[in-house]
Amino acid sequence: MSQQRDPILSVEGLCIATRDGTRIVDDVSFRLGAGQVGALVGQSGSGKTSIGRAILRLLSPGLAITGGAIRFDGHDLATASVAVMRGLRGRRIGAVFQEPMISLNPSLTVGRQMMEALLRHERITPRDARERCLDMLRRVRIADPDRCFGEYPGKFSGGMRQRFMLASVLTTRPALLIADEPTTALDAVIRKEIMDQMLDLTRELGTSVLIVSHDLAMLSQYSDIATVLHQGRVVEQGDTRDILLRPRTDYMRGFVAALPRRVEAAPTGAGARPLIKVQGLDVAFPLKRRTFFSPHRTLRAVKDVSFDIAKGEVVAVVGESGSGKTSIGRALVGLNRATAGSFARTDGPHLKAGGAEWRMPGVQMVFQDQHSSLDPQMTLEQLVAEPLRHDPSMSAAQRLDRARDILAEVGLPGGFAKRYSHELSGGQRQRVGIARAVVARPSLIVADEPVSALDVGVQRQVLDLMMRMRDAYGLSYLFISHDLSVVEEIADRVLVMYRGRIVESGPRDAIFDRPHHPYTRRLLEATPRIFPGGGDSYELAVPPTIAVPAPAGHAYHEPGEGDDDAPLAMITIDGRHQVLCRALT
């Protein structure tokens, strides 16, 4: 890596090993100049997080630095004393971690936690410290810093907490900020906001940033130089955009090729008769009453949602967390009770809300968390055979036979049948989840973020498997995801959810190329997408969206609180492309 500036951080031949001597980081070197933004990239298990933690000397117990040097500020952090490290952490090196939910102490006010580092490291009066913190909160664009200062972290959303983290880490103006997957837990729109703020601020303060992440597309927008790691070794180093867009090594070529991107829509019989019809779906949850005498209140998570799904169609539901997309899926499989609306199969029952949860035959589900969705006490064949127990025409042996067949079909042949889920990798577990959903030959599978927890390569395999299953069994999917690039690849139609309502729906190309609703446009503009260039190269872009005026006599409606009475309608743009509008009076 060529650098004009003196490096502020220089990692030389770093090795990290477990207690039994297995090297999880092997001879890694990189440098980071003053004010530069660098990235450590890799999939889970690549050792990237351990390197970030080694720089802070906060390795998890059981791991130790076994070789190399980490030069920073004239110290070698690999061997520096505990006292030296304590003086550096928080003052010269700041850190932001992935989980804002757990990295703030819930029992201290935001203000107390922010002032901690300042009071610890600088001769400063509490009054001045408070001023500095409030100033920093203003700079991360927190609306009412004085009020936030005295509140506890539990009151705030993930995005807000990550802002507090960022503000509190930067109050001491550290020379180096280590950001470990700082936005992975956040939604696209908030992710972009936080990354923008983080880099504006660090540029202003002259802080170097080392971002640790698996998200190369996001990194290529923000970081100058990147080090790609695979199984603890450096695979490639250099300019971030170069690495992603003009991959030179086989590893990177495979990685980039596995990224989800739009493929030509397979003919799925557009205009085919719908198989599933959902009308006016409402899902509401009772809120906890503050006191016994408080009135009963409910939270309407899903408001008046209607859509249909044809045989073999993939309908994606996108939206931020809390938009109600998961509640829709859970209502269809009978895990949430619908409070209004109907759910019908054109060739079967017509279910109406009210009374018990819906129990629609031929609807199965694939869960996001493969670890928690498989009973740890059951073998894979038992797991997969379970949905067949309601089929009286099959004997127990036949069920297990069928389960083994499906397991082989999803790529877990022979000996896997007798194994337990904890012996499998994340991707393998998700295959079991898919096998279990498919085994009873359903017509609709609700897949709730089925690939969000998986690495790019594994994600690719699971997506391919899901599409193969659709072709083999004529399945339809309701594919719930916050990941627009995955949706762009596999969806036939897209429903954009915002605050409980569908704000726009239509064929994939219409939504991605001609978005109308302001929220859809915000969502698309927050998501860099990858496009093939010539030969082995790629383009990474956020294609600008074009503002389109609302249909005559209407205004686009932004759902919010207290809008439940407004006369709203889905206005058709063309064909099946519809957008949520409010009639102008």
Partner: protein
Amino acid sequence: MLMQRPSGIAGVTVIALILLAAAIGALAPPYDPTMVDFTTRLSPPSSAHWLGTDEWGRDVLSRLLSGTAVTVAVAGLTTLLVTISGALLGAFSGLAGGWLDRCVVALMDAFLAFPALVLAIAMTAVLAGSSLAPVVALGVAYLPYMVRVVRAHVLTLRGRDFIAASRVMGNSPAYTLLRHVIPNTVAPVLVMSTSLFGWALLAESALSFLGLGLAPPAASWGGMLADSRNYFADAPWLALAPGIAISGALLGINLFGDFCRDYFDRKTKD
């Protein structure tokens, strides 16, 4: 796995010895444990009476063995009763939620408000006469502990997606409880049962020490300990035999319990 852990081996050995002693005590004690013989009153350990004799000239070893049978039976039955009823009640309560759950929790908390032994003594007084009195009394006293452990575990299980997956498959709540919830609570239940066995054993000894166990001629560890107090200076073996039995048994059971917990921890972390 078992062989790599000395505490596991020790625990299993002690428990095997206790069961063996109980079997001999119940089926073939060397002497009749209630046979009075004033000619050998308070004789120290000898080849004829390995652990000596008591103030009535009864063989201490035979009384100890037969007391083991009684104590083990009471502790074992109590454990069985508490394990089955506690696991079902706890699992039901955790799964049902709502006001049913709140009622169960409130009831169990009410029981927990009394020290288990005090509750057991009160229950024994109420049930006086029945030979199952100590079992029922201890069972009621220890039930809340099992219910709480199982309920807490079920609450964490309930949030897991495989319970949701079972509902999506159209399985009934009863099937979900038996097929998915109960098998996943086996580990904590077993660990809890082992501790319970130890507690019940100690509590039974305490009850019979206070004279609330089986009626006097029958032998029991606690009863032997109580009787020995008057002769402690002249015949220390009378106190040592049941004392060592009680502490040894508890130590062994606790070692076994620790081993169980480590074993299941490692298995689930795997």
